[in-house]
């Protein structure tokens, strides 16, 4: 082989020919950049540009269809004096906190169950993903009917069980409306947690569990000392993603309550949209949307540090 290969004339690179270019592109330092540039351009165009433009808008008095004037941080000062803004901030934190905890606990439970061996396992796993797959607007319209006071299947069941009429106003009572939205968000986000954690569970070597069983560990001890520690990195990352998505949720609220009753369910994203679109105040709207940034930045930095420390 080697003799034959040596006998073959090695094609000399013609000056300025494609071969030199090819060799240049195959250098790792160059090749890696070539691979990175397309997604980078994509990110700059679709994430970076709107983000920077959003910051620029938030520093202007900028009515729709009208030239803006630079006003520094005055929009943020306006927000700080707006009682509804603080109510929106509180709503967003409550919504994100409870929905994320419910999704984390429920999703872990779901993953543990799905990790068992039972008939029609794959079919059931696929079905469990449905809430995540169905477009949110569609599933939310279904929820609108489920919670509709006149047609609510929930209230109907309650009447059957002897609760007095009229049943609870799921979207009419300010507290219940927030509760309902948290529940629906949990319902929608649970499969994301479940499936991701299931993937994590399946990477845990079975021999660890076998060894623990031989040492006399019960199922709780095995969960506490083997499953949970090994699953922590996955739980951490899923939670961070979930916090980001929940914090910036829009569709669910927009379809169900549009922020009502009396702003009890307004989130940053819906409030920003109302101000910018219905109110035609792009600058002020952008400043409300950007108010999400500090909280999300903490989360993202947390993610970055955690990934680095591993």
């Amino acid at each position: 082989m080697s003799g034959r290969a040596a006998a073959l004339p090695v094609p000399l690179p013609r000056p300025g020919s494609g071969a030199a270019f090819r060799r240049w592109t195959e250098r790792e330092s160059v090749f890696s950049w070539l691979m990175i540039v397309p997604p980078l351009l994509f990110l700059i165009a679709l994430v970076g540009y709107p983000f920077v433009y959003g910051i620029w808008l938030s520093l202007q008095d900028r009515p729709v269809a009208h030239a803006g004037t630079f006003i520094g941080l005055r929009n943020f000062v306006t927000d700080a004096h707006d009682p509804v803004f603080w109510q929106v901030a509180r709503n967003t934190f409550i919504y994100t906190f409870f929905a994320t905890i419910l999704k984390a606990v429920g999703g872990l439970g779901m993953a543990l169950v799905m990790n068992q061996v039972f008939p029609a396992k794959n079919a059931i796993r696929a079905i469990m993903l449905l809430p995540f797959i169905v477009p949110t607007v569609l599933s939310t319209v279904a929820w609108m009917w489920i919670l509709d006071p006149s047609f609510s299947v929930v209230n109907w069941l309650m009447f059957q069980m002897g609760f007095p009429k009229p049943g609870p106003a799921w979207l009419g009572n300010p507290t219940l409306a927030m509760f309902s939205l948290i529940m629906i968000n949990t319902w929608r986000g649970l499969p994301f947690y479940g499936i991701t954690l299931l993937a994590g569970l399946q990477t845990i070597p079975p021999d660890l569990h076998e060894a623990a069983v031989i040492d006399g560990a019960g199922s709780w001890a095995r969960f506490r000392y083997i499953t949970l520690p090994l699953l922590m990195p996955v739980i951490f990352i899923v939670t961070l993603f979930s916090v980001i998505f929940t914090f910036s949720d829009f569709q669910l609220v927009y379809v169900l309550t549009r922020g009502g009753p009396a702003n009890a369910t307004h989130l940053f994203a819906t409030y920003a949209f109302d101000i910018a679109m219905s109110g035609g105040q792009f600058g002020l709207g952008a400043s409300v949307a950007l108010a999400m940034l500090p909280a999300l930045a903490v989360v993202i930095l947390g993610l970055a540090f955690y990934m680095r420390s591993r």
Binding site: P63, S150, G172, N173, T257, G259, G260, M277, S278
Partner: protein, 433 residues
């Protein structure tokens, strides 16, 4: 997008590129033939609740105009609720259709991107018996007509004749006090009233602003600066809303958006609501038994009069329109009595004409129950009235300041607190915090 681009190519290369770019943009926004020699106009509307209305334009008006002038009109429909985002995008980017439909106060919001159409509007007024004052309130910005008014999607009272009769009422209560009394009896009989108090677009404003006005309350004085919400009149209106809510309604109305009262009506859950003509329209078509007992009436009066919300439709031409004369010619043609009258009739009075010439049009006789929609025009105003429409008044509506003032009171807060909160919000919005 107007065609006739073949002319431009005699110009410089830059002109050619510009024309090519416009052609490409045009093809992205509709079936415009960027290179053909046919003139086309883009006319943007939101899908109408009344199907025959859109069909009438597509099948009758557009072909008729093309036949008469050779100009093809592309009737571009957005999904329900999608028009404002589209108009904002078109106004911002300066590309897209030439003419658009407006709702609410959009002629004020997009004022700078709309051309002055005073001549068309004034001519249409002359030919059709003159405009209602409400039409002028809806489109005249700084003395110029920035849109040609079309019709009003009125919000009035919708009441169940049979249940009111059982409760001892053969005509609709004339005042809010009387409505409270009737509603209390009706709720006791298992037929509550249902007025939206949530964050919809129409059915909340439809009764809350008129309630406020009918007690003499207002957000801001006509000078557009002096905050006037903190008054005894407002307090009386808020107290009345709370009484109506507590004694005649179910808690759910606090979370309602616009579809809820229609659903509640058609499932026979409520005996009275404030709505556009959609309830009677659907009831007649799909629920004839409910349709027979569905009645309309003007809003109840308060101590300072009777009021209605103005929900105007109008048409504007964008400043980016290439061939403005073609767009003007089309609007002028559309507003001729033959065209506009037939288009109104296609929607069964759903869009109440702003033109006095149609006050006694045959369509009103098709069902006398529609007539209050016509009669409400004389007392209809935009949210924020009697102050002029400004950026601040629009922001107040977008932030639901008035709606939430009433909703919070109904949910249990004190009248003093809700008015103080509304006042603080208005001060901030009007830049006086």
């Amino acid at each position: 997008m107007i065609g006739k681009k073949y002319e431009v190519f005699a110009g410089s290369r830059r002109d050619f590129l510009k024309a090519a770019a416009i052609g490409a943009a045009g093809s992205a926004f509709g079936p415009t033939a960027g290179w053909s020699q046919a003139k086309t106009l883009g006319f943007m509307h939101e899908s109408s609740f009344i199907k025959p209305f859109d069909e009438y334009f597509q099948k009758k008006l557009a072909p008729a105009y093309e036949k008469a002038t050779g100009v093809k009109v592309n009737y571009e429909l957005t999904s329900v609720g999608g028009l404002q985002t589209r108009v904002a995008t078109v106004a911002e980017t300066g590309s897209g259709p030439d003419i658009t439909l407006n709702f609410f106060t959009w002629p004020f919001l997009y004022n700078e991107k709309y051309i002055d159409v005073s001549d068309i509007a004034e001519e249409a007024g002359k030919k059709n018996g003159g405009w209602y004052d409400a039409a002028k309130e809806a489109v005249i910005v700084n003395g110029n007509w920035k849109a040609v008014p079309f019709g009003n999607v009125g919000q009035i009272m919708c009441w169940r004749q049979d249940w009111f009769h059982e409760a001892g009422y053969d005509k609709f209560p004339d005042t809010w006090e009387e409505l409270l009394e009737a509603g209390t009896k009706l709720k006791a009989a298992g037929h509550p009233i249902g007025f939206e108090l949530g964050h919809g677009f129409g059915d909340n404003h439809g009764w809350l602003y008129p309630l406020l006005w009918s007690y003499g309350g207002r957000e801001v004085e006509p000078d557009g600066k002096t905050i006037a919400i903190d008054s005894d009149e407002t307090a009386q209106a808020v107290d009345m809303a709370r009484k109506l809510f507590k004694q005649t309604m179910a808690e759910e109305v606090l979370g309602w958006t616009d579809p809820n009262n229609n659903k509640a009506w058609l499932s026979e859950q409520i005996s009275c609501t404030n709505n556009a003509a959609s309830i009677l329209f659907v009831a007649k078509r799909d629920f004839p038994d409910i349709g027979k007992v569905t009645q309309h009436a003007l809003n109840p009066a308060g101590p300072k009069g009777r009021f209605h919300i103005l929900a105007p439709w109008s048409h504007s031409i964008f400043t980016h329109t290439e061939d403005k004369e073609a767009a003007r010619a089309f609007l002028r043609w559309l507003m001729q009595p033959e065209q506009v009258g037939a288009w109104y009739a296609a929607a069964d009075t759903y869009y109440a004409p702003f033109l006095h010439g149609f006050d006694n049009a045959p369509m009103w006789q098709s069902d006398p129950r529609w007539l209050p929609y016509r009669d409400s025009l004389a007392t209809s105003h935009l949210p924020g009235w009697p102050a002029p429409i400004t950026r601040a008044s629009t922001e107040s509506v977008a932030k639901y300041v008035v709606v939430d003032m009433f909703a919070k009171a109904c949910a249990g807060a004190s009248t003093k607190d809700v008015i103080a909160q509304a006042k603080a919000q208005l001060k901030q919005i009007y830049g006086q915090a």
